[in-house]
Amino acid sequence: MITLALAFATGCFTLGLLLNLYRLVRGPRAADRILALDTMVINVIALIVLYGIWIDSQTFFEVSMLIAMVGFVSTVAYCRFILRGNIIE
């Protein structure tokens, strides 16, 4: 059962990644692209967690936690760049 669930979830997130990619390429605005990249980070975190469950390893949860912690910083910086130009003022 869990195998099936994992496969399904993995498939969904993979699909999500590809859809994000479409949005990233199409745009049209920079904000759309930033959002797409940020969502991609979330999807990747999910995939790593799923993979961790699959092969039964703790390490992957920590990695996903770290990506979660630092992944949004780039997004914030991109946004600040659009809003204010300078990210540290």
């Binding site: 993995t10 990619l21 990695v63 630092v70 910083v73 991109y78 600040r80 760049f81 540290i88 003022e89």
Partner: protein
């Protein structure tokens, strides 16, 4: 015991060089005394060794340094070394005393003594080295330290130019000598001089003999100012006179002669040696003597006279006969005594009268009797008149010359030697007659009188030696000449006798001719000088400057062609070249497809490939819009990190994602001040060509990677996996590799990282104070911007994140040795946590809460890492060997402590400091552009508004 002494002698000047910078605070006299102490101590030690050396013993000392390269710190003291070491230390001591009185209180005297002792140490190193590579290192050191000494008066342009010229010429020769030394060592099979000196036959019959000889001679001739490289020596006279007296009469310029004498047993005796060395010496001797007569500057006269005498020594060694070699050794002593004395006299005259121009001097004998007496003795010795020591060596030189034939021609060598002797007599007498005799003048720049005894004591001692050696040569220096001469010829000494009167022989006849000719030349000096001034001569400095300018222009052209500033050009060259190499390699061997079956590709991984490919194409298509390209690159970084996770490299994933974030932040900071769009600068054809190269190179790399992936091969990984726990005490192999197996590598890398951080800081500092800063101050950003600079939501979120991020950083650091993590990642994570505060609340607010300077953080990190490495020396193990142990402190469970963790702490601090410093530097630009700063943590503070509201209500 003896070898310890020898090491001490070599080390004392270098140790002493550290002291003057401190002691100068106690005044010039104390400083001079502390510079004198190591010199005298070394001289005493040398004196203790002298009896053994004079008895024929060769004292050696050796420490293995880099045995794999044949480079040992091995020293040797034989007769020749004793002679030179004695000269270097003895004259060094006199010069230190003399300089105390010569230099004024305005000069940086401490620095002078430091340079002088450095030079002394380097010079001693040359004459004491047994290993030829070691000797070459000291050789270069003399070039460098003499550069500092010649350019000591940095406010004088002549000093700086002369120093540069000397360094260029002698440095060039040093490089040639390095090549020659390597060839010589290669032929002899050893870099130890003591071995090389026994392989004379092999070396002379080797096919590499001529190239090695030419290179070595280039080194010796440039150092000893032989024609046509003689021009640097007169320009080096811009140095303070003590320097000229020390370097340019007694020591450095003799290094070339020393080298010729040292290698005499193996290199001499061939026609090549005779024709190159003897001819060069002969030409130099004549040219130097002729020019010296027409120089009005006292020091220039002495400089050209030195050139002439160095030519004489080279000529004697070049003759290749044992007799001439012994004469050369004897003349080295004599030249030292009278020339150093004369240089010091020139310094006294300059010091007391305020000029060194002979045409403005004269009649000083009445005003400065002591100085005049010293000058008289030394000048007569230089002229080669009896009963002074110069006479004896000149007689012996003429004797050697009278028996030499050039291309079967028996008269050309004696004739030229006599011509040089004629001019030598003339300029020596002129030095005394035109400066000290004649009527007392009224127009000296300063009122001259004899200087304090401290200043004339040194030259007086040397003048005394001139007389004593002249009167009793055998008793005073007979043993020294015999043992040093024996060390040069490496065999039975020829018959010679050191005495004043040899009876009437051809040499005496030539000598008489020389004296008569010299007096006539001096008598006719006025008309001759006018003729000389009217004649057209090549000006060495102009030629040198033109050559240097041409070289610089040529280098500029090459640089501009290869290094045009466009990275696309570099990459095109690099990729195309690698491609050509790869194609050649592939075409040269038989290719067999790999046998390893490929792994299945799950759909998610396939999606990852799609992500990578599309994002790459995306970056290429939008690369002129820089911000968009940066977002696209983010996808690539993310996918690569995910790939690392999937392929069981969580460490790399952690590092990748952290580096990715920090890089994005730094790029965004820079991007703010760059154009939004990259202009198209290349033609479509160029772009097409570049695209072709890029695609081919990409395919090549992919094919190479595929070829490797489809094969089984063994790597060092197995060793690391097997030894990580037992050797390094950690189960995280990546971390153990970083801090232990390849700890030295990591140490170098963190230093480079620290340097990069500091360089960015320094570059931006200097940029901002220049034209770029002015442009920045006038820069106005017209893009419409959001008004909310520090949104409350972000401030609160980052504050909450801070402790968590720090905790994660500490956690990653602590467990790094056994689980994914380590100092590098931890440093990046903590840096990101700090960066978030900077972004949320602004620069100043965060900076005010930052108590430790980032520069200090970098330095501390490197020091800690270094200390961790040095710590293993204390345990008697090589640098950076880690050790570990298990400890239990109740109630905590058993835990492991490894010295590698201290090292990792250093890595952590350096990474943190470097990242933060780069960010700090880049964000400085905004404030130069006129951005305001804030002290409050956020723009809209609800708590304050509430307080304000209450106030309004009440």
């Amino acid at each position: 015991m003896h070898s310890t002494f020898l090491f001490l002698i070599a080390a004392l000047p270098f140790l002493g060089a550290l002291i003057p910078g401190v002691t100068i605070r106690a005044g010039r006299t104390v400083c001079a005394a502390f510079a004198l102490a190591p010199t005298l101590l070394a001289l005493v030690l040398l004196g203790l060794l002298a009896p053994s050396v004079l008895a024929g013993e060769v004292i050696t000392a050796r420490i293995e340094w880099l045995p794999a390269l044949g480079l040992d710190a091995s020293l040797m003291l034989d007769g020749l070394g004793l002679l030179f070491a004695g000269m270097i230390l003895g004259v060094g001591a006199l010069i230190i005393i003399y300089a105390r009185f010569y230099l004024s209180g305005d000069d940086p005297v401490g620095r002078f003594y430091t340079y002088l002792l450095l030079f002394q140490g380097a010079m001693l190193g040359i004459v004491l080295s047994d290993n030829i590579l070691l000797m070459l290192i000291f050789w270069e050191l003399t070039s460098l330290s003499s550069f500092l000494l010649i350019g000591y008066w940095t406010h004088l342009p002549e000093g700086r130019q002369g120093a540069r010229m000397a360094l260029t010429v002698t440095g060039l020769g040093g490089l040639a000598l390095l090549a020659g030394g390597l060839l010589l060592g290669d032929i002899a099979g050893s870099y130890e001089l003591s071995v090389i000196l026994t392989r004379g036959e092999e070396i002379r019959s080797s096919a590499l003999y001529l190239p090695a000889l030419l290179l070595i001679l280039l080194g010796a001739f440039t150092k000893s100012a032989q024609f046509p490289f003689h021009f640097w020596l007169p320009h080096a006279m811009a140095a303070p006179t003590p320097v000229s007296a020390y370097l340019h009469s007694a020591t450095m310029v003799k290094a070339g002669v020393f080298l010729l004498a040292r290698l005499w047993p193996v290199l001499s005796g061939t026609p090549e040696w005779f024709y190159i060395v003897a001819t060069t010496g002969l030409v130099t001797m004549v040219v130097g003597a002729v020019i010296a007569l027409f120089k009005n500057d006292l020091k220039a006269l002495l400089a050209y006279s030195t050139v002439s005498h160095l030519g004489l020594l080279t000529f004697l060694l070049g003759l290749g006969t044992p007799f001439a070699a012994v004469v050369a050794v004897f003349h080295i002593i004599n030249h030292l005594t009278f020339k150093a004395a004369l240089f010091m006299v020139a310094g006294i005259v300059d010091h007391e009268t305020g000029t060194r121009d002979i045409s403005r001097l004269g009649g000083l004998a009445r005003l400065m009797p002591v100085t005049a007496l010293i000058a008289l003795v030394a000048a007569l010795s230089m002229a080669g008149l009896p009963p002074f020591n110069g006479f004896i060596s000149k007689e012996m030189t003429l004797d050697a010359a009278a028996h030499a034939a050039w291309q079967g021609n028996g008269w050309i060598i004696p004739a030229l030697t006599t011509v040089a002797a004629v001019f030598s007599v003339a300029y020596s007498l002129r030095l005394f007659v035109h400066v000290f005799l004649g009527p007392v003048r009224e127009d000296y720049p300063r009122r001259p009188h004899d200087p304090v005894p401290g200043m004339w004591a040194g030259p007086a001692l040397l003048a005394l030696l001139v007389v004593l050696i002249g009167l009793m040569p055998s008793a005073l220096v007979g043993d020294l000449v015999a043992i040093a001469g024996g060390a040069v010829v490496k065999g039975a000494l020829p018959y010679y006798s050191l005495k004043l009167w040899h009876g009437v022989n051809p040499a005496l006849v030539l000598s008489v001719i020389a004296v008569i000719g010299g007096v006539i030349l001096l008598w006719q000096h006025g008309p001759l000088l006018r003729a000389w001034a009217a004649a057209r001569r090549p000006e060495a400095k102009a030629i040198f400057d033109a050559t240097v300018a041409a070289c610089v222009a040529g280098a500029d052209r090459v640089t501009r062609a290869l290094h045009g500033g466009a990275i696309s050009t570099y990459l095109a060259w690099f990729a195309a070249f690698a491609l050509v190499l790869g194609v050649l390699a592939w075409a040269g061997g038989a290719h067999v497809p790999g046998s390893r079956p490929p792994l299945p590709i799950p759909p998610t991984v396939a999606a990852g490939f799609v992500l990578l490919i599309v994002a790459t194409l995306g970056v290429i298509s939008v690369h002129r819009t820089r911000f968009l390209a940066l977002i696209m690159i983010g996808v690539i970084g993310l996918t690569v990190s995910a790939g690392f996770v999937y392929l069981s490299a969580p460490d790399l994933a952690l590092t990748q994602i952290s580096v990715e974030t920090v890089t994005t932040l730094l790029l965004l900071l820079a991007l703010n001040f760059l154009p939004r769009h990259t202009p198209a600068e290349s033609s479509p054809a160029q772009r097409l060509r570049d695209a072709g190269i890029a695609v081919c190179a990409g395919i090549g790399v992919a094919a190479l990677a595929y070829a490797f992936l489809t094969r089984d091969f063994s790597s060092i990984s197995e060793y690391h996996l097997a030894n990580s726990k037992t050797g390094g005490g950690g189960t995280n192999v990546v971390n153990v590799i970083l801090v232990d197996f390849r700890g030295y590598d990591t140490y170098g890398e963190i230093i480079v990282l620290g340097i990069a951080g500091l360089t960015i800081y320094a570059l931006l500092m200097s940029l901002l104070s220049g034209a770029a800063g002015r442009r920045l101050r006038n820069w106005r950003d017209t893009t419409p911007r959001s008004r909310d600079r520090h949104p409350m939501m972000m401030v609160v979120a980052t504050r909450v994140m801070m402790p968590i991020a720090i905790m994660v950083g500490v956690y990653l650091f602590l467990r790094g040795h056994n689980q994914p993590g380590g100092g590098f990642v931890a440093g990046l994570v903590v840096a990101i946590a700090f960066l978030m505060q900077y972004m949320a609340s602004g620069f100043l607010w965060a900076q005010e809460r930052q108590r430790i300077e980032y520069h200090a953080l970098i330095g501390t990190g490197v020091v800690i890492a270094g200390a961790a490495g040095v710590g293993s020396w204390l345990a008697g193990r090589p640098f950076l060997t880690s050790s570990y142990g298990y400890f239990t402190i109740p109630p905590i469970e058993e835990f492991e402590l490894a010295t590698a963790m201290i090292f990792d702490l250093g890595v952590f601090l350096t990474v943190l400091g470097a990242v933060m410093l780069m960010l700090y530097s880049l964000s400085r630009m905004a404030r130069v552009a006129g951005e305001t700063i804030n002290i409050e943590p956020m723009d809209v503070d609800p708590s304050r508004r509430a307080a304000d509201g209450e106030k309004e209500e009440s």
